[in-house]
Symmetry: C2
DNA sequence: GTCTATATAGAGATAGAC
DNA sequence: GTCTATCTCTATATAGAC
């Protein structure tokens, strides 16, 4: 877009987004606690202090990361509300959710995997990831659904996560992961009733 | 066993086991990085230095924890080797694995969930958790099995983990979790072929 | 908006008395 | 086998120049 000349340094305009990108990468591969502000700064080619200009601190960065992912679930909730109620709503909603898995969402999941303790700490202050899916499952199952059904439903929505974990030491591509997840979701929601 | 008198302090004989118990608890709830040696010491009512008498350091503690869980997988491997080969070996092995889930193993899984970054760091030095299941899946599937089947198999063995995660904001008991996991494993291994 | 320099706090770990 | 005291390192975060 803008001409940056021959400098190797980072531009100033989209710095915030770039910080988030790099931070997501590092938090995912080394974990939140295993990643220092300095690590992020070095990866960006700037100093720690620069980061403090853009974010109040390390926690502010991870919060911004979470906000980015929230909209996906909200979109799903909105879609569900538009649907005609029926016994196959769980199946359709779960298939839709898993089938619409984007690379961004996969990145978000890897991040969540690597940072469950931090996520839970943030969850206590509000803005939980788990709570989002409470809503989803609540709308997709009858109110008095037995625990077994609730667990099965939640697992059906979370197959990408499971497949991602399963793929950890294999050479599976992301497409294959999503495919496996879809198959699992189908298997889990076929004979719910 | 031995008479300790009226002292409120911890006994000296089984200290090692007690350290591991407390450390497992704390590592699970707050994460490895979120738990300091001091935290463990305080929970035990002793000082940091005492811990260093029993363990070389923080990493030695987590390694001891991992060793405890290794035997489970080795038992499964031994069982598999005794089985007559057949197409339903995956189903039987996975059902056996999931069905034999003990409270200890659940504790181990919660621990693993909360500490994936550390686990992966330890994995690089050998003694990986993932690698153990590489062996399991290798013996239970044909050598040239397509990726989809490998992923499905790994997911089938890991349903307790998935169910545990799914149960996070629910009131599900551990028995219900295992039950849901068994159902999922059955669904995932029924029409493998 | 980015830098240098520094304040401050907490971690893991060790020495050595008891 | 547990203690007190201390070392060392690294982290987050801030102050203030440019």
């Amino acid at each position: 877009m803008s001409s940056t000349g021959t400098s190797g340094r980072r531009v100033g305009s989209e710095t915030r987004a770039e910080i988030l990108r790099v931070a997501l990468d590092l938090f995912t591969s080394r974990g939140f606690d295993g990643t220092s502000i300095r690590d992020i700064a070095e990866a960006l080619g700037v100093t720690k202090s620069s980061l403090y200009y853009h974010f109040a601190g390390k926690e502010a960065i991870i919060r911004a990361l979470l906000d980015d992912r929230r909209s996906d679930v909200e979109e799903l909730l909105a879609w569900i509300d538009e649907q005609p109620p029926g016994t196959d709503l769980l199946h359709r909603a779960a298939m839709r959710w898993v089938g619409s898995t984007s690379p961004d969402r996969i990145r978000g999941m890897r991040f969540a995997h690597a940072n469950r303790p931090v996520m839970r700490k943030l969850a206590d202050d509000g803005g939980d990831l788990r709570a989002w899916f409470d809503d989803v499952v609540r709308r997709v199952l009858p109110e008095d659904a037995p625990v077994a059904d609730v667990l099965r439903a939640r697992m059906a929505f979370d197959t990408v996560s499971a497949a991602l974990f399963a793929a950890q030491t294999t050479a599976a591509t992301e497409a294959e992961v999503v495919e496996a997840a879809l198959a699992a979701t189908a298997a889990l929601t076929r004979s719910t009733d």
